[in-house]
């Protein structure tokens, strides 16, 4: 744990820290995720559905990228590729410099549906990844949870859930569940965090609260984040870079850097520069909703 703390402290100083020796550290590459000419087609033969056109994407370590685009454009497909949950039809997905396989990755993931286990308390729910991911898994039995419990409580406090550790999921509101869900995705200190519309089902105010929570978590822990969203404000608020995708079969139409100073506040989202960015993205997506010209992969 001391290495993780040291890393966090160093990141706050603005220094890049080699990732070796970290609990779930990937290789100390500068590039966290790299898709080279990756395409995905679901099904075979005449029934095949192209989901993703050949796509290139490079994500530096510790970066925060948002994928936006019309629905069904293959945003979630990219996340599943990076998580190693599906294999590309062509091309190579590299994570931490190695070809992906879910077993070696141990990435944190969170979806719109918080999927906490109803028979476990929030504390036990957040602890679940520690039962599965090495090196915590080996310690889980011998430790009898004490240091792990402190770890969980510290993280819960960071997202404003202290005092709810012993509650059951059904006793919490949707926003609180999503906070717990973020904790579950981060508890094993993953270097890569994949978020698939995590705040999609929440009301506007709760959503904005959670943007701030997520930004804080990211600034302290500095994982590489891939965020799929259809909320352009969310993308602008959270991300360092926004990739706009076309309608299915998806491809990346535009790759915009977002340079607003951090920590960003909700008030920032009403500033002219932010609104302009929002409008530009919106126009791109509206244009992309029209059927995209079929690429070379399209009619296979």
């Amino acid at each position: 744990m001391s290495t993780a703390l040291a890393r966090d402290a160093a990141v706050l100083d603005g220094a890049r820290v080699p990732a070796t020796g970290m609990p779930n550290g990937m290789l100390p590459e500068q590039t966290a995720v790299e898709l080279s000419d990756v395409s995905v087609t679901f099904g075979k033969g005449v029934h095949s559905v192209p989901a993703l056109q050949p796509t290139k994407l490079r994500v530096p370590d510790g970066d925060f990228i948002a994928l936006v685009g019309p629905s069904g454009c293959g945003k979630s497909t990219i996340l599943k590729l990076v998580a190693g949950l599906i294999a590309p039809t062509s091309g190579v997905v590299l994570v931490g410099g190695r070809e992906v396989s879910a077993k070696a990755l141990r990435v944190g993931m969170a979806f719109q549906n918080p999927t906490l286990l109803p028979w476990l308390t929030i504390e036990k729910n957040v602890m679940l990844p520690l039962k599965i991911v090495e090196p915590f898994r080996a310690q889980f039995r011998s430790q009898r949870n004490n240091s792990f419990r402190d770890k969980v409580h510290a993280l819960l406090a960071q997202v404003g859930l202290s005092g709810f550790a012993n509650h059951f999921p059904w006793q919490l509101s949707g926003g609180m569940l999503q906070r717990a869900n973020l904790c579950r995705a981060l508890i094993h200190e993953p270097r890569l965090l994949l978020l698939d519309e995590p705040f999609g089902a929440l009301d506007q105010f709760t959503r904005e609260e959670l943007w701030v929570v997520l930004q804080d978590l990211w600034q302290v822990r500095r994982p590489t984040v891939l965020l799929v969203t259809h909320d352009l404000k969310e993308a602008g608020f959270l991300a360092n870079r926004i990739c706009v995708m076309s309608a299915r079969p998806g491809r990346i139409l535009a790759d915009r850097d977002v340079t607003f100073k951090r920590p960003r506040t909700i008030a920032n989202t009403f500033e002219p520069a932010f609104v302009t960015l929002n409008q530009e993205l919106r126009e791109m997506i509206v244009a992309a909703r029209a059927p995209a010209p079929t690429g070379s992969m399209g009619g296979r």
Partner: protein, 258 residues
């Protein structure tokens, strides 16, 4: 225990007492012969005086039921886990299972008797055959309804199939499993008595069929009362276990404290 549950229980008890009282009064008022319908007081008197003779049969029926039930649970869990963890197995095996379960079980008793002779074995097999199906269905349903997103989260963590089954699949199945146990224990009971009635010289089912051929109607009803009492006792037992193990599924307010 809160006031509400106490009142509900009192109401349930009152209804039972009222039922027996109405029965007693009706028999007296219309002068019903005890050959047709004995009064509850007569049935309870018979129960009391014949208990020493009845007791071995009670033990026989109860033990046969439990053996058939335990075997049925084992078979049901095994089949349910198999069917629930794979879509293909589910689609393949389901029609056969439905076909098997829709056979009236009284029709298979003669076959069991043919194979194993009359007595305890066909009774055990009948109760097994009749009680395993609800367990299969419930286990399979519980396993098949795991959220795909949760599975993705765990797979992305590098969880094995066993990790997912152990941490998510099985606990999620527990409420389904215990609900099915309550149904299955009643079914197992039906199976045992069915088989005892057709082909056995021991057990409550046999007592009842013998008593009925002797026109000893109070004894027939005494058998019926014993079966009802045993059925309620077993059901209550499994309800209690269910509440203990899967209270989370019932969202009771008093769980907050735990």
């Amino acid at each position: 225990m809160t006031n509400g549950t106490l009142r509900r229980r009192a109401a349930a008890a009152a209804l039972i007492v009222l039922f027996f009282a109405a029965w007693e009064v009706a028999c007296l008022m219309f002068g019903v012969s005890d050959l047709i319908l004995p009064r509850p007081s007569q049935v309870f008197a018979t129960l009391w005086t014949r208990m020493p003779v009845l007791w071995p049969h009670v033990v026989q029926t109860l033990s046969t039921t439990m053996v058939g039930f335990v075997l049925g649970v084992l078979l049901g869990v095994l089949l349910g886990a198999l069917i629930g963890s794979s879509r293909i197995a589910y689609d393949t095996a389901y029609p056969l299972l439905i076909g098997f379960s829709s056979i009236p079980k009284v029709a298979v008793v003669p076959i069991f008797v043919l194979w194993f002779g009359s007595g305890t074995v066909p009774a055990v097999l009948t109760s097994l055959a009749i009680c395993f199906f609800p367990i299969v269905v419930n286990i399979a349903t519980g396993l098949a309804t795991t959220e795909p997103e949760l599975e993705d989260v765990l797979k992305a963590l590098g969880a094995t199939k066993f990790d997912i089954l152990w941490n998510v699949g099985l606990p999620r199945t527990m409420p389904f499993f215990f609900a099915s146990l309550k149904v299955a224990i009643s079914y197992a009971f039906v199976g045992t008595v069915l088989s005892e009635t057709v082909a056995s010289n021991r057990g409550i089912g046999n007592v009842m069929i013998t008593a009925s051929s002797n026109f000893n109607t109070p004894l027939v009803f005494a058998g019926l009362f014993i079966l009802a009492a045993l059925g309620i006792a077993l059901y209550a037992m499994f309800s209690l276990i269910e509440m203990r193990v899967t209270g989370w599924a019932n969202r009771k307010a008093d769980l907050i404290a735990t």
